[in-house]
Every structure is written in C-alpha cells, then in structure tokens.
C-alpha cells in the first residue's frame, strides 16, 4: 500500500513565523502535491511537483513556497505565516499517467495548522 506521511498532525505557530510542513512518500512516485482544505471551499491546490527540483504553482500559491530536493520528500513553506493560513494541509502523491493508464493520487493524513 502507498504510504504518504506528513510530519505533524497538529501544529500551532505565531504570525510572522516561517513554517515548514514536511511530506514523505514511500512509493517512488514522481508527482507530489500540496492542498489546503477549508470548510465550504473544498481542497485547493497550492503547489505541485512532477520531478525532483521541479515545481509548479497551483491555484493558490500566494504566501507559500515548496522544496523538492529528493524524490520522496516534498516540503511546503509558509514564508511569513498569517492567520488566514490557518487550515488543514494535505499532501498527496501519484505516479505519472502514461498514455491511457491513469493512476489516482494518494493522500497523507493531513496537518491541521493554526496560526495565532
């Protein structure tokens, strides 16, 4: 089974702090994703990566950056945390879709981040 592990289940930080959220997958997947999940808004894509050192902006990248130095690890960075970044953060990974063979994303358990 695919295992996507997020380093923290709950995290409390202060406004202005630099925050790191870590995600590790054990299935050698090329693709990795960071989402945030808010009531009434569903899951929204922040950033994704389809290879080591490659990254692309998702739908809501403002205030965030990412790092992918190794294939199995994808980090989300809040450069200067603000209260509107309080949310549930979900990491996911998937192998690449090759032609007609499509594979679903697999999710970690999430990190509930509170910014005070």
């Amino acid at each position: 089974d695919v295992k996507v592990t997020q380093s923290s289940r709950y995290l409390v930080k202060r406004t202005g702090e630099k925050v790191f959220l870590e995600c590790v997958q054990d299935m050698d997947h090329e693709n990795m994703f960071w989402y945030r999940q808010d009531p009434g808004l569903g899951l929204r894509l922040i950033y994704f990566s389809y290879d080591v050192k490659m990254k692309e902006k998702g739908d809501i990248p403002e205030g965030y950056s990412v790092s992918r130095e190794k294939k199995e690890r994808f980090s989300l960075i809040l450069e200067s945390a603000s209260t509107n970044q309080t949310s549930m953060y979900l990491c996911a990974s998937s192998p690449p879709s090759r032609g007609s063979v499509k594979k679903p994303q697999h999710f970690g358990d999430g990190t509930r981040l509170s910014i005070l």
């Binding site: 693709n31 994703f33 389809y50 998702g58 690449p96 007609s100 499509k102």
Partner: protein, 112 residues
Amino acid sequence: EDKVVQSPLSLVVHEGDTVTLNCSYEVTNFRSLLWYKQEKKAPTFLFMLTSSGIEKKSGRLSSILDKKELFSILNITATQTGDSAIYLCAVDFTGTASKLTFGTGTRLQVTL
C-alpha cells in the same frame, strides 16, 4: 474556468437507506473523474471513471459517468453508520502531473 460542483452539500439518512451523491463539472480537456471518501483523516480513493456509461462497483458503492451531460453519481445502497464521511469528487483535466480540481464535498451522516 474549470469547475466541479457537488450536491447536496450535506445529507442525513437512516441506516439501510440508499443515497445518491451528485457531481457535475465544467472542465476543458477532461481526462478522468475520481471519487474519494474522507473520514477523520486522509481522503481514501474509491473510484476513477474515464469512460462514459460504464459503472464501477465496489460492494455497496457504485459510480457512473456521463461525459455528454458532464456529471457523475455515486450510489451507496443499504447505508451503514461507517459510511458517514465527506465524499469528494475531483476531475483530472490536464497536464503532466494529473492536477485535480475538487468539488466542495458532500457530508453524509448515517444515523441508527
């Protein structure tokens, strides 16, 4: 703009009832539609649908896609309290990394 809309937003049913959850979409370059179940933690994958009119089934859950009318339904028969969850619909519309656009989800509560 690519968009995925789920209905209803929430639903309360009694154990044993049958429920139908809806997902409609407006996306360019459609590739597939996925259903996930989210209880307290990670969304878990249920179905991936790529072809119109072909039902996917797993136990009491089934799903079908209509690519002409741009919607999918998820059916759950003989509901149990363990089916209580948020059901998420997502569409894979393009790109090398299979980006997903999610709906807001349907919160299902099954009561005794």
